[in-house]
């Protein structure tokens, strides 16, 4: 009988009184059995029943906590393992460093190559631009020279009023030559652009300028230094006085800051002449 109580150990005294009594009752019933002459049987209780409900709850909470810790740690490690080098060994780190520096070298050489290319392209573009600028300048100056483009600038406007006497083409030609000598850059004779191939002819109807009949009063516009152009016409014994004295024509020379020459001459197609390459 005593053995059974000892089997429970010290814990038995902590159990509720009812349970203790019930256990005792069962044990007594077993032990007081007199039907056989055998020794009272001493059964070991299974250890499972020893534990109370509170301990079970505690352990299950602990289990939950531990599993939660495992899941938490797992996810944390998952999120942090991508960017950490601390788990790599020394060899791996050295290899990584080598690879990175090799990559840097490659990229540097690529960069220098590309910048060289860029430089050459830029210089080519600059050259191209320079060529374009010169071509444009040439085109403008040659356009003005050949009479393809209208021009404006300071110069003089000469008006020659013819009286009864006809002014011959040669005198007019002299006037144009004088203006040219005085540095006239662009000239217009009564609405006809004066270029290298411009001709002046005496006809029955009067003057003919490059196939176009011109009527007095003749208006000659010239772009150049105004004072020297005026001097060229008005100089004593010059073409101006010749016109006045010989032909009784009225010659007025007016200086202007903005002489506008709008008449142009269509460029001719050269049949024989070719540019030298």
């Amino acid at each position: 009988m005593k053995q059974i109580q000892h089997d429970d150990g010290g814990k038995a005294s902590q159990k509720p009184a009812f349970k203790r009594f019930w256990h005792q009752e069962m044990a007594d019933e077993l032990n007081d059995d007199l039907s056989t002459g055998t020794f009272p049987q001493v059964k070991k209780k299974p250890p499972k029943t020893r534990r109370s409900g509170r301990a079970k709850i505690l352990t299950s909470i602990l289990m939950t906590l531990l599993c939660a810790l495992l899941g938490f740690g797992y996810v944390t490690q998952l999120q942090n393992s991508q960017s950490s080098y601390s788990t790599l060994s020394e060899d791996e780190l050295v290899r990584l460093l080598d690879e990175t520096s090799k990559q840097i070298d490659n990229l540097e050489s690529q960069k220098s190559q590309l910048s060289e290319q860029l430089k050459s392209i830029q210089s080519a573009a600059d050259k191209q631009k320079e060529v374009e600028r010169v071509a444009k300048e040439n085109e403008e100056s040659s356009g003005i020279l050949s009479g393809r483009l209208p021009a404006q600038g300071e110069g003089v406007v000469i008006t020659i009023g013819q009286k009864d006497k006809h002014i011959p083409a040669s005198t007019m030609f002299t006037l144009i030559e004088e203006l040219r000598n005085a540095g006239a850059e662009v000239m217009e004779f009564d609405g006809v652009r004066v270029v290298t191939s411009t001709s002046l002819l005496d006809t029955e109807n009067g003057l003919n300028c490059s196939g176009q009949n011109v009527e007095p009063p003749y208006v000659i516009k010239a772009i150049g230094d105004p004072s020297s152009l005026q001097n060229a016409v008005q100089i004593a014994g010059g073409v101006g006085s010749q016109l006045r004295v010989k032909y009784g024509a009225g010659v007025t020379v007016k200086q202007s800051d903005n002489v506008q020459i709008d008449s142009v001459r269509q460029s001719t197609d050269y049949k024989y002449a070719k540019t030298v390459e």
Binding site: M63, T64, G71, Q79, T87
Partner: protein
């Protein structure tokens, strides 16, 4: 059941909080996780063998984790940290495989 609930809760919390691992703990965390997985699988095997005890599970879990971390810590002190980490991982991996095969035998009776 509490184990599964705990796992889910831990993963969800980890996903939403996104904590930074302190540098001192960085080499130990993966080992601890692997050790915990081993303990979990061991307990699952015990469950199928009808000898599961939650107390044993708690103790084995903690001892597994602590032992693994301590081993790696010792290796770090001795300068063989990475090798010892590998050793621990290998041992735990073998255990995990044997546990899984035992569980499979219980499930498929093969």
């Amino acid at each position: 059941m509490p184990a599964i609930i705990g796992l889910i809760v831990g993963i969800v919390v980890g996903i939403f909080i996104k904590p930074d691992v302190p540098i001192a703990l960085q080499p130990y965390l993966p080992i601890m996780v692997v050790a915990a997985i081993d303990a979990l699988l061991g307990s699952a095997r015990a469950y199928f063998e009808r000898s599961f005890s939650d107390r044993v599970f708690v103790i084995s879990f903690l001892s597994n984790v602590v032992t693994a971390a301590l081993l790696v810590f010792l290796g770090d002190q001795l300068g063989v940290g990475s090798q010892l980490t590998t050793a621990v991982i290998v041992v735990l991996g073998i255990r995990i495989f044997s546990n899984v095969s035992a569980i499979r035998r219980f499930i498929f009776r093969g």
